[in-house]
Symmetry: C2
Subunit: 244 residues, 2 copies
Amino acid sequence: MPSEHIVSSFDNDLQELNHLIATMGGLAELQLENSVLSLIRRDGELAEEVRDKDKEIDAMEAQVHMQAVKLLGLRQPMADDLRMVIGAFQTASDIERIGDYARNIAKRTTVLNQMPPIGSANHAISRMSNLVRGMIHDVLDAYQTRDDSMAHDIRLRDVEVDQLHTGLFRELLTYMMEDPRNITACTHLLFIAKNIERIGDHATNIAEHIHMIVHGSDPDSDRPKYDKSSITLIDSDNVRTTDG
Amino acid sequence: MPSEHIVSSFDNDLQELNHLIATMGGLAELQLENSVLSLIRRDGELAEEVRDKDKEIDAMEAQVHMQAVKLLGLRQPMADDLRMVIGAFQTASDIERIGDYARNIAKRTTVLNQMPPIGSANHAISRMSNLVRGMIHDVLDAYQTRDDSMAHDIRLRDVEVDQLHTGLFRELLTYMMEDPRNITACTHLLFIAKNIERIGDHATNIAEHIHMIVHGSDPDSDRPKYDKSSITLIDSDNVRTTDG
């Protein structure tokens, strides 16, 4: 029964691909955790470790891409199978970007460790990071089980991340205005917060790939955007969000 | 001659895909130009136009992705042909991200128009943007002609963008320290500069897809990174780049 043989080979290949994505995703989640820990604990060695380890994620992305293209050429999958391979390809790219953002957080941590800590900013960053790590963790589970209803929930959770980010953006601007000596540190913290917010966007992208795999179409409506940091205006006695 | 017929159908489909990518890329290049013009000229209407127009790029990405998946399922391309379809798929994603960054620049412009302009920052942003627009323009040409040597040059040009970005990052920190009233405006300018630097990275990604299409492998070595903004430390009388 040659056709059964082909089907089962495809399934094996796909399983291998998904296993690689699970490993890669788990590592990216850990990299985010460690990058933020290195900030909170002022641990330069841990920051260095995160920067080094990013290469492993990059190598895994290359491997997923190579295997996916090989699988497309060799097995020529159709319909659902084809979408699963494309979904794996895209998901690997999103995980690779998550790894890049974690590495960038670790880079900035190395600079921040040389300056006094800033108010309660680390606390807010920690909260954002915990939320986003939860999103990565759950979206990886939803990816493996093709659970679109879980993926849908994850897309909604990104709203909370955006709101935390906007709050932190305002807080950091205020610290900078209070004391110019805070400016360099706060600037790096602004970018760290932005990196975490972007990681949330990539978890959301993976949730959208799951929808595509399951339904063969993009999710219906644009998800609501609650990140108002790009349109926030603060001066000495005035904080507001423009809607222009 | 059925096999010739199949080949020619595939070529037609691919040509259609590449035509869509050319249009999409041209629009993204224009969006970057207009977003920076809206900043320089303090033109709120143009900023609004850029924000609206991004939807068109998103729609084109969805169309490329849909057509690429259809083409994979229908024509089952192998080897070079397969890589060209995958390359188109990835290139569309990079162009879509370029569009997102241009939209974010336009959003921040709307806020910046409500504040006094900052020193010579706009001049440096304009220079960065011109360089990056040149990269987008050339990488789109290289994509259409599969010109890997041109793609190689574009990867090298990104170094100059990174260097300009690091310089501007320092300059903006200095403006903030000089006068706390500059802080909000400079923060948005920092993110605009970062957005342009990221657009350069996406042009570089497309150059890497071209290498992959032509040679079937990733470019040999990691390109050198000259963006030192993540590791820049500035205080009132001290500017340095940490190497930790």
